[in-house]
């Protein structure tokens, strides 16, 4: 198939960017979106031009590295898939595809389509962990966890931290990411002792990183390749309110 690509090219964080047009000819319909970009890049390299920079790693939808906004939709907007799992058969022959980076002040462009998502690392440092020694793994059945709690925690733990929620949000808010981590760790017994500290610490780190605020429009949920539900955000709001009340009154 033949496509016209309009790709965001930007030399570095501070340089102004622009959309550059490329003809992508003879692309196999079975190619993934990233493989299509690989083919385009090989041709650019052959011509001695600078290849398009984009993030990728596992290419099987679980690492959270790929991060493209395709025709205004993070990961292409199919729901439940990452860009690397999106295939060219989803597009039509002759179509024009606009490819932009995930856009947010907290995700500065490193180059072209690759953005710096270390703001998420800083949020994790704010409380996305449990403070116990991480030596040998304990016997799994030693800590009984009810099935519904385990299911909820596991669904939230599916978050791969790709940042599509931020990219899709009208306000570039990271609430779904933070909500997934807080729901995951605050649900299970290993994480409960630090429940309040975690909710406060992660939300403050999120605010400091310059993300926007949630307006309950759930664009994030629609874009999330792991389909983290909006209830996670309600849970984060509840945990944050509870922790704030305790902190405010008890100190």
């Amino acid at each position: 198939m033949n496509l016209t690509l309009k790709v965001w090219r930007q030399k570095n964080r501070n340089a102004p960017g622009h959309l550059a047009e490329y003809e992508a000819r003879d692309i196999p319909v079975d190619a993934s979106f990233l493989e299509m970009l690989d083919i385009v890049n090989e041709r650019l390299i052959e011509k001695g031009e600078d290849p398009i920079a984009f993030d990728h790693d596992c290419r099987e939808g679980i690492c959270g590295m790929c991060s493209l906004t395709i025709n205004g939709k993070p990961h292409g907007g199919k729901g439940g898939v990452t860009s690397c799992q999106l295939h060219m058969r989803e597009f039509e022959d002759g179509q024009t595809i606009v490819i932009e980076p995930f856009r947010a002040r907290a995700f500065p462009v490193a180059k072209d389509l690759a953005v710096d998502r270390s703001a998420f690392d800083r949020i994790i440092q704010g409380g996305g962990y449990i403070s116990v020694r991480t030596g040998s793994a304990p016997e799994a059945n030693a800590a009984p966890i009810a099935k519904d709690v385990a299911d909820r925690a596991f669904a939230a733990a599916a978050c791969i931290g790709c940042g599509a929620c931020v990219a899709a949000c009208k306000n570039a808010s990271a609430m779904l990411f933070v909500a997934a981590k807080v729901t995951h760790l605050n649900s299970v017994p290993q994480g409960r002792p630090e429940r309040d500290r975690r909710a406060l610490g992660m939300v403050r780190a999120m605010d400091e990183a310059g993300f926007g605020n949630c307006t309950n429009q759930y664009e994030c949920v629609a874009a999330c390749p792991k389909q983290i539900p909006a209830e996670a955000i309600a849970r984060l709001n509840r945990d944050f309110a509870r922790a704030s009340l305790k902190e405010t009154l008890a100190g």
Binding site: K6, W8, G17, L19, T69, N71, G72, K73, G77, V98, E100, R103, A104, R105, A106, A168, K170, N171, A172, S173, V203, R204, M206, D207, G210, F211, G212, N213, C214, T215, N216, Q217, Y218, E219, V221, A222, A223, P229, A230, E231, I233, A234, R235, L236, N237, R238, D239, F240, A241, S244, E247, T248, G251
Partner: protein
């Protein structure tokens, strides 16, 4: 005391803290809407009922001022926190998408600031019109809008007010936007306060729409009845 104040300020400084303040102030304003509508609907019971209700409200004296100042604070806090959040939202994406798409956000949810600020303009107009009364000459010296006992003839104020097409027009426009604001706001409030669960989400969505339709339909029935000649 100082540490308590600092802790409260720290809560307000956070993103979720401000949202909770917006949600709680909204809860108070929703209560006001219900009370205001219940009072207004007395117009359908006739002039005596609504005039007596208005007289009772005025007789509250100091308490009425407590309620008025309370409402003013709620409105002020609701708007100030929202505008701060909206400014932060704008700043969070300095470079817009060249091609942007909306996946599932409703039109109402995207118009919240616009609908809210239009409602604010309407509320100012509405207060000048009926409460201060200097747009329509309701409180002027010749006493056309006074009853024999010297009290305000609220019934006549409402009927004459709504007979003017642009008053009714602006009123209905504001109600349309209020319905839009409520349809997103009410269900959003439950989410922000952390009360929404997978099971209750559809209920709260429905409650938002139901509340919007009942409140705005109720208010709209009065100018519609006046324009249709049912209230004279």
């Amino acid at each position: 005391m100082k540490s308590l104040i600092l802790a409260v300020l720290r809560f307000y400084a956070s993103s979720i803290g401000k949202k909770i303040v917006v949600a709680l102030s909204a809860l108070g304003l929703l209560g006001f809407l219900v009370g205001h509508l219940a009072g207004n609907l007395l117009i359908f019971k006739g002039p005596d009922a609504i005039n007596a209700y208005a007289a009772q409200l005025h007789d509250l004296g100091g308490l009425l001022w407590v309620a008025r100042i309370g409402l003013l604070v709620l409105v002020g806090v609701h708007i100030a926190a929202t505008l701060q959040l909206a400014a932060a939202n704008r700043a969070a994406r300095p470079q817009e998408y060249v091609v942007s798409a909306t996946l599932r956000a409703t039109r109402s949810s995207r118009l919240m600031v616009l609908s809210g600020l239009t409602i604010l303009v309407f509320v100012i107009y509405h207060l000048l019109h009926f409460t201060v009364g200097n747009l329509h000459g309701f409180y002027d010296a010749d006493g056309a809008y006074r009853l024999e006992d010297g009290r305000q003839n609220v019934y006549k104020m409402m009927v004459d007010g709504f007979r003017v097409w642009f008053n009714s027009g602006f009123y209905l426009l504001a109600l349309g936007l209020l319905a839009s604001h409520l349809s997103h706001g009410v269900s959003s409030l439950f989410q922000t306060l952390g009360l929404t669960t997978p099971r209750t989400r559809p209920l709260f969505r429905l409650a938002g729409w139901g509340f919007a339709v009942v409140i705005c339909g109720g208010f709209a029935s009065i100018p519609v009845a006046v324009l249709a000649g049912l209230l004279k």
